[in-house]
């Protein structure tokens, strides 16, 4: 239970950063932290206490195994997050070239 709570705390850290930070890079980091906490949450559901890896070998037959599906899902989700983070960083670089700053409060061409 404590693990899940700490995982939720990590999510809140990411959310807090997303809402309060003004620096583009810090916003990207917060978004990434939020993603990591989600992945951790997902992979925790596959965890079983005292269970082995989910590959059947002569040594571990009959033992409890961890659920391999969340692990496969998390791998996919990590790759997706990598793609989004790369895109965000590319956008941040372009924004820096246009405005000469990473401060989000100074980027004000859109309003209303």
């Amino acid at each position: 239970m404590i693990l899940y709570l700490m995982c939720f705390a990590l999510f809140l850290v990411g959310l807090y950063g997303l809402l309060t930070k003004r620096d583009l890079i810090k916003i990207i980091l917060s978004s990434a932290i939020m993603g990591y906490s989600t992945n951790l949450f997902l992979v925790l559901f596959g965890y079983r206490r005292d269970a082995t890896y989910a590959i059947l070998t002569p040594n571990n037959s009959g033992q409890a195994m961890v659920d391999p599906l969340p692990q496969a899902l998390v791998l996919t989700s990590i790759v997706i997050e990598l793609g989004i983070t790369a895109l965000l960083v590319a956008l941040a670089i372009r924004l820096y070239q246009k405005y000469g700053t990473f401060d989000i409060t100074k980027m004000r061409s859109l309003k209303g």
Partner: protein
């Protein structure tokens, strides 16, 4: 089996464009047209030949409890038809419009990925697979919003990507909770397992899904990214985003989850009613004060999405009929309005209504089609918008919610007012213009004329005799909540 081709063809086209087209833009155009035309043909073919059946296709031959299945029913075919129709006209519009922005072939490759993602979301029957396709569509959309390489486009794209990332996290948490409590990711399997669970947990999962997909659909508390992203993107992309993306990723998934999987819980139906009516009113109030044409249209998208949510929240067959009909109509007329705005922006280089002025004689076809779309969105009879709004209002009164019907009528009147402003300042204003040096070409006119004709023709969907073959099967799929499980499992086992 035609089902996998809806995903395969655009994906193949995207990679072929990147590999083969190289610097030859004409190849890219030809390839993307071929892919989109074949999807359109396939979806029409599928819709005609389907006989109230649900087909499933088990990917790689793994059956349901293990593998991922694709599901084809009236609702998904209807969405596929809508997506490919708008994609085709959007491509027609792009050929001339994109030429002056940047390298063409990258645009078409991204466009095909966007199409892959949306088609995938619509055909898949697996929750996590849906998430993956959603991300494919979203990443392509972020890149396409920033395609014009101006500061405001990067800014809008960044904002969109951050909001998209947040909503994806929320959705992933909901998927994790669903998997941990039902031990399956197949939508039909989840629907089967949910009634046996602790209902408080189910409500939490549904709330997380509502936040996540509500953000994608840009309903009112979650709408802040939409006006920036939709107004900054190139015009054909605005029409794709506003016309189909928010529906395929937002509304469609909400329908699938809340009707076919969660079995229309009354609490969330009431929430949808409230979100819908707030979206209608706030969207239209925010729109009416805008002077940037594309921004005005973007705010109207929020308002029109409100109508669809309102119809869904009523949860009566008539309300769902209105919602589905309005879903289609909104895709048609909003895309047409964005094409008009794009054509004006291309010719004059401005989106400000005060600077547009006398355009009716300069751009007669654009002005004409824009008038058709404006009448359609404001709900003036013979055009399709009138009929869908009428059905929604009647459904609201029949379901015993006259207050919501009142909001819908008021929203419609304010929409009319704001489009009278568009016509008055934008196309029949005082500012005179010289003959511009760039004019919309044949393909742009073709795209606009096709949609304008459909604005009129799709009113016929509601005529008895045609309705039984177009809208009614879709409503049946949504309304027969438990039927979906039997159909999916019946074919697969």
């Amino acid at each position: 089996m035609i089902l996998p081709y809806f995903v395969l063809l655009p994906l193949l086209a995207a990679f072929l464009i990147a590999l083969l087209a190289g610097k030859k833009d004409d190849w890219a155009i030809a390839l993307s047209f071929m892919a989109t035309l074949s999807i359109l043909a396939l979806s029409v073919f599928g819709f005609i030949t389907m006989r109230e059946q649900t087909f499933t296709y088990a990917m790689s031959g793994w059956n349901i409890p293990i593998g991922i299945c694709l599901v084809q029913d009236a609702l998904s075919l209807f969405m596929l038809f809508m997506i490919s129709l708008i994609a085709l006209t959007s491509l027609c519009f792009s050929v001339q419009y994109i030429r002056h922005l940047a390298q063409d072939w990258k645009y078409y490759a991204l466009f095909m990925l966007l199409l892959t993602g949306m088609n995938g979301v619509v055909v898949t029957g697996d929750l996590f697979n849906l998430y993956v396709f959603m991300e494919i569509a979203l990443i392509a959309a972020f890149a396409l919003v920033a395609y014009g390489c101006r500061a405001e486009e990067y800014e809008a794209s960044f904002k969109y990507a951050i909001m998209g990332g947040f909503s994806s996290s929320v959705i992933l948490i909901a998927i994790a909770l669903t998997y941990s409590s039902t031990s399956t990711l197949t939508l039909a399997g989840i629907a089967q397992a949910l009634p046996g669970l602790d209902q408080r947990l189910v409500m939490w999962i549904a709330a997380l899904f509502l936040v996540g997909f509500g953000l994608k659909a840009a309903a009112i508390p979650f709408h802040t990214w939409l006006p920036d992203a939709h107004s900054s993107a190139p015009a054909p992309i605005s029409s794709m985003l506003s016309g189909v993306l928010i529906k395929a990723l937002g509304i469609y998934v909400l329908i699938r989850l809340f009707y076919n999987v969660f079995n229309a819980p009354p609490l969330f139906m009431n929430l949808l009613l409230i979100i819908g009516s707030v979206s209608i009113m706030l969207g239209v109030f925010l729109a009416i004060g805008q002077w940037d044409l594309k921004r005005l249209l973007a705010y109207h998208s929020i308002s029109q999405i409100g109508y669809i949510l309102l119809g869904l929240g009523l949860a009566t067959p008539l309300g769902i009929l209105g919602a589905v009909f309005h879903l289609f109509n909104h895709a048609i007329f909003k895309s047409l309005l964005f094409y008009g705005a794009g054509a004006v922006e291309m010719v004059l280089g401005t989106r400000n209504l005060k600077k547009m002025g006398k355009l009716a004689h300069l751009l007669p076809i654009t002005a004409g089609t824009n008038m058709v779309a404006s009448l359609s969105i404001s709900g003036i009879p013979p055009f399709n918008g009138f009929f869908s709004k009428l059905i929604l209002i009647i459904a609201a009164i029949q379901a015993g919610h006259p207050v919501y019907a009142f909001w819908a009528i008021l929203g419609s009147l304010l929409t009319l007012a704001s489009f009278m402003k568009v016509q008055r300042y934008g196309f029949y204003g005082e500012v005179e213009h010289q003959k511009p040096n760039i004019m919309p070409g044949k393909l742009i006119h073709a795209a606009m004329l096709i949609l304008a004709v459909i604005c009129l023709l799709s009113s016929l969907f509601i005529v008895p005799g045609i309705r039984e073959h177009t809208l009614d099967p879709v409503v049946d799929v949504i309304n027969n909540k438990i039927h979906y499980i039997e159909l999916v499992y019946g074919r697969a086992l």
